[in-house]
Amino acid sequence: MEQELIWDLEQEKQRIMVHPILGRIEKGRRVKFTYDGREVEGYEGEPIAAALKAQGVMIHRYTAKKHSPRGIFCAIGRCTDCVMVVDGEPNIRTCITPLREGMTVQTQYGVSAEPFENQ
């Protein structure tokens, strides 16, 4: 069972390169997108949340009332805890929204991309 790693970027440690049962995990094209203003990369078609998790991103939003951090919880589009502002639209469920080239993904503060202090 050969075990060749495609690439070894430090922040990609969260990705499973070769799985003992599923073998090599095929991915779409590698694409660029922006996360909170920074340019990052992921694979086209994988959920936005997966691309972010590969970068070690855990916090997707801060809640409206208590400003508490939230992230992936159900990963199947039910609990809406993983919502972020995508291309300017808030409350987008990132665990089921496929990543596209050039998407702008922003941490959501309450219901907007503006941090609480300037809301």
Partner: protein
């Protein structure tokens, strides 16, 4: 009166909502009988839970036993394709209205469809349990972990604590290790393991500690999970002071049961009942899966939580019932179709974990053997208990040792042994017995075919003071032959030094590597896992 300008409503003989195991199976059986069928599924890929289940299924050959979930999913897709079933993906059914009308969102459009009959097969979603810090990023459902690993190829975390010892908690713990994550512990407030003993055993022997009668006190971390504290609970589930234990983890998986996603049925006005045995809010259905609304059926987990295998059979039945309801087949044709499926379904609903036995305190196996208490309370069979089971025999040379001690409907091991050393018999919940008089060919097929990874090939005395133990190994990296390390016992503790003497892989083993290690012969009946030296 402004009449909305909308031309004809698209109408189908049968609409199936959900392209998972039960939905696809229903569509197949109906289409095979001439019913014009369309299936809608909100996900990008069909197959529902099947494509997240990478373990080999239980049951008998007709239940597709020893085949991995996602392979069954693919087979189901091929079968649906051949049967001419139209499957529409990324199609969210946002409403089930009166007159069996649904509104489906695809892309940025909504479409109205009506079905002369509708089968709801929307499955289940995960239950939640609250503890201090449960809303922190890093606390996820076990199903969520499965989705991330097996569907998206992402590790849910580096070091994980699993809460819940039902089949999902056990299976996902194993899958976390397969994905390269470390499982710090498996915790459950219940005093006994909820899932299959074999699933627990294959986790325990890798060294994962089990903490039953424990639950989470607090998930630590300000922005995301950085640790967790558990503590023992009394039989009223109250914490016992002084029993706190801390683990440094970045992820907590919650596997505390599933609830049927029966909202569409409730919305349509079906009579519902809140049945804890079935997992919560379920439609009241007759023997045919028909709800209180004629022509509206429910199949699979949405009408009662069971395994994917039963969901597929229920789906096939619902497809046949719908075909009869629509007049495509006669009542007698329906009944003939049913017999085989009823028997198959009934076959699955036997044994210690059958719905009818839920909550019962089972002391002895069907064979009258005391069950392994240690397995239930600590996740592994005690050294003093293993000898009393029919799968454990002793003889010179290599022979199978089957550590399968609970009556579950499963018999692939019987068919795997060409030399007929292994016997389950007609009742597939019987414990597999080994006939020591027959010669074992050391082919390894039984080890690879066991869905519960409970079969080992042991040569208790190679003549030079050593013994060999061949075990199923489904992790990466696979150690090379000659690798030195430690052998772990059923309880995951190190028992002795060990050396890998043989590694066998073969398509017939379906991604289960057979690892043979040499150990001092006195540990032949203790050494059950291998850990290479760091």
């Amino acid at each position: 009166m402004p009449l909305p300008e909308r031309n004809d409503m698209k109408r189908y003989d049968l609409i199936v909502v959900g392209a998972g195991p039960s939905g696809l199976s229903a569509a197949i059986e109906a289409s095979k009988r001439g019913v014009k069928t369309i299936v809608f599924d909100e996900n990008a890929r069909p197959g529902g839970q099947l494509f997240k289940q990478i373990h080999k299924f239980f049951g008998s050959k007709e239940h597709k036993a020893k085949i991995r979930g996602f392979v069954i999913g693919q087979q189901l897709l091929d079968e649906a394709g051949k049967a001419g079933v139209e499957v529409v993906l990324n199609a969210t059914v946002i409403g089930l209205y009166q007159d069996k009308e649904i509104v489906v969102k695809t892309g940025d459009t909504v479409h109205h469809y009506k079905g002369d009959s509708i089968i709801i097969a929307t499955g289940a979603s995960e239950n939640m349990v609250t503890f201090d810090g449960w809303t922190l990023p890093g606390v996820i459902g076990a199903g969520a972990a499965q989705t991330l690993m097996n569907l998206h190829g992402i590790k849910p975390g580096k070091r994980v604590l699993m809460l819940g010892s039902g089949n999902v908690g056990l299976v996902v713990s194993f899958q976390l290790m397969q994905a390269g994550c470390e499982v710090a512990a498996l915790v459950d407030a219940a005093p006994e393991i909820g899932g299959y003993g074999v699933h627990a055993a294959k986790v325990a022997r890798t060294g994962v500690p089990f903490y039953l009668s424990h639950t989470i006190v607090k998930a630590e971390g300000t922005d995301h999970v950085t640790g967790v504290t558990i503590a023992a609970v009394d039989d009223h589930f109250r914490f016992i002071p002084g029993t706190e234990k801390h683990f440094d983890v970045d992820t907590i998986c919650v596997a505390v049961g599933l609830s049927p996603m029966s909202q569409l049925l409730k919305m349509a006005g079906c009579r519902m009942s809140d049945d804890p045995k079935r997992g919560g809010q379920v439609p009241i259905i007759d023997g045919h899966g028909e709800t209180s609304i004629p022509g509206l059926f429910a199949a699979g987990d949405v009408s009662g939580i069971e395994e994917a295998s039963s969901a597929m059979i229920e789906g096939r039945q619902a497809g046949i019932y719908a075909a009869e309801f629509l007049g495509f087949i006669s009542k007698t044709e329906m009944d003939n179709g049913e017999e085989k499926l009823d028997a198959a379904l009934d076959g699955l609903r036997q044994g210690m974990f059958a719905p009818k036995n839920r909550g019962k305190n089972i002391e002895k196996t069907e064979e009258g053997i005391d069950i392994s208490r240690n397995l239930l309370c600590r996740g592994f069979i005690g050294d003093d208990e293993i000898e009393r089971f029919p799968g454990v025999t002793h003889k010179a040379g290599v022979h199978p040792v089957i550590e399968c001690t609970q009556n579950i409907p499963c018999n692939p091991c019987q068919d795997a042994c060409a030399m007929h050393c292994i016997m389950v018999g007609k009742v597939i919940t019987a414990l597999p017995a080994v006939d020591p008089s027959l010669k074992c060919a050391d082919c390894g097929m039984c080890v690879a075919s066991c869905s519960g990874q409970a079969i080992f090939l042991v040569n208790e005395d190679c003549g030079d003071g050593t013994a060999t133990v061949t075990l199923p190994y489904e992790f990466l990296p696979v150690p090379d032959e000659g690798t030195r390390g430690r052998a772990l016992g059923r309880n995951g503790q190190e028992v002795c030094d060990a050396e890998v003497v043989k590694i066998r892989t073969s398509p017939a083993y379906d991604h289960t590597t057979l690892l043979t290690m040499s150990v001092p012969k006195e540990f032949a009946m203790k050494a059950r896992f291998f850990k290479a030296n760091a």
